[in-house]
């Protein structure tokens, strides 16, 4: 166990039936940095985040979040992470306030209405805080999801294609919150197809192809763009 690492993956493999989604991934993410995982559809990015979020178990290998093994200490891992995917996991028939109040109780938090309203304000939903989430557009829904993720002040943010379907305004809010998160010392692990959004603010970049990390580098590494063209923009695997 390394005290400086937020995410530490050792030989992570995951197989669905006969299909290998991840093949012996080794990955170290230092604390307080932003890391982007690029990869085409089916490359294994989502599977990796699901394992990190304790939603799936690896077939082989170990993964730790802030020193907590995802299989041995899943509840501590869940306290440390916030996962946002294109599904926001909120209840459509509840309002943003009701959703956040409910999820805060699951995290053992006793948040006041003002605290919840403050969070809703941060994601720009103050006017819609008492409307059922069902009436929200995709972008607004994602903001509720973002508020849910930030609810318990997670040390590691896991974001799976968080920009999908967002308008420019929502992208700006998301970027601002991610920048603030890194400034506050949180770790961000983000997956995306979008090269520019992925490189923005990324300290480290990894490219996953067919379940393996095929390229790693600094966010400013010029070789990333070439590797992106080769592995993400290249021909779909047969």
């Amino acid at each position: 166990m390394n005290d400086t690492l937020a995410v530490e993956a050792r030989g992570i493999s995951k197989t669905y039936g006969h299909f290998p989604a991840l093949r012996s991934i080794d990955l170290e993410v230092p604390r307080g940095v932003s890391v982007t995982l690029f990869g085409r559809n089916g490359a294994g990015k989502t599977t990796f985040l699901k394992i990190a979020a304790t939603l799936a178990k690896p077939s082989h290998g170990t993964l730790s979040i802030h020193g907590f093994d995802t299989e041995k200490k899943p509840e501590q891992v869940r306290r440390s992470i916030g996962l946002l995917t294109h599904s926001t996991y909120v209840y459509r028939d509840l309002t943003p306030r009701e959703n956040l109040a409910f999820f805060s109780k699951l995290y053992g938090l006793d948040l006041t209405g003002d605290t919840i309203d403050g969070l809703i304000q941060r994601v720009g939903l103050h006017r819609r805080r008492n409307d059922a989430v069902r009436s929200f557009s995709r972008g607004l829904l994602q903001r509720v999801g973002l508020a849910r993720v930030m609810l318990h002040n997670p040390r590691v943010l896991l974001l799976d294609e968080p920009y999908t379907g967002l308008d420019a305004n929502a992208v700006e809010i998301l970027n601002r919150m991610l920048d603030e998160a890194v400034e506050e010392g949180r770790t961000v692990v983000l997956t995306t197809h979008d090269l520019e959004l992925g490189l923005r603010g990324a300290n480290h970049v990894h490219i996953i192809d067919r379940g393996k990390i095929v390229h790693s580098g600094e966010g400013t590494d010029p070789g990333i763009r070439e590797a992106y063209r080769q592995y993400v923009r290249g021909k779909d695997p047969q």
Binding site: R78, K105, G108
Partner: protein, 221 residues
Amino acid sequence: MNALIALVRKDIALELRRKETVASMMMFGLLVMVIFNFAFEPAGTQRVLIAPGVLWVALTFAGILGLNRSLAIDLDNDSLQGLLLAPIDRGTLYTGKVISNFLFMMLSDVVIFVFFVVFYDLPVDTRLLWIILIMILGTLGFAAVGTILSMISSHTRMSEVMLPVLQIPLTLPLILAAVSATAAALGDTGDGYSSWVNLVIGFDIIFFTISYLVFEYVVEE
């Protein structure tokens, strides 16, 4: 405990807003009662022979309908994944859902039971209390098994068909014991009632415990 209460309150809040689960269970249960009432036109001693079976057919099928509806709320927008990300053990999630399902089923059971008493012209005496007791215990066991089976069947393509296919055979001992206990309660002497009730209690304990322990593996991807 706070998480458990929050889970149940969330289900109740959603049901109050959607008004789908309990209403559909009540309607379905009542339809079953009405159909059986006209199909058999029971009278005299025949009535006592048929009534327990009719009651439990209504409760069973209405319950299955409710279990499917109840889980659908958590599958909408993948909200279940949000619950699984919370730092609470999977057993608490299971227990919360069992309690919610039990409460919804009991609400429906009460209405079905009132019509049952009216249709079968049952005398209002202490025997009805014994039937209510077996309804509570039977519904609890049915909800305990149904909650985990609805989760399993939700991973299949024909989940709404798969649930009764799994649920009815597995709860057959419970339903048979509940029907027999109801019949014993309706009889003049009440012979055998306690042994059937004990069987139902045993079923409840065993299946709740097993389901609580294996729920983690059911929801795992």
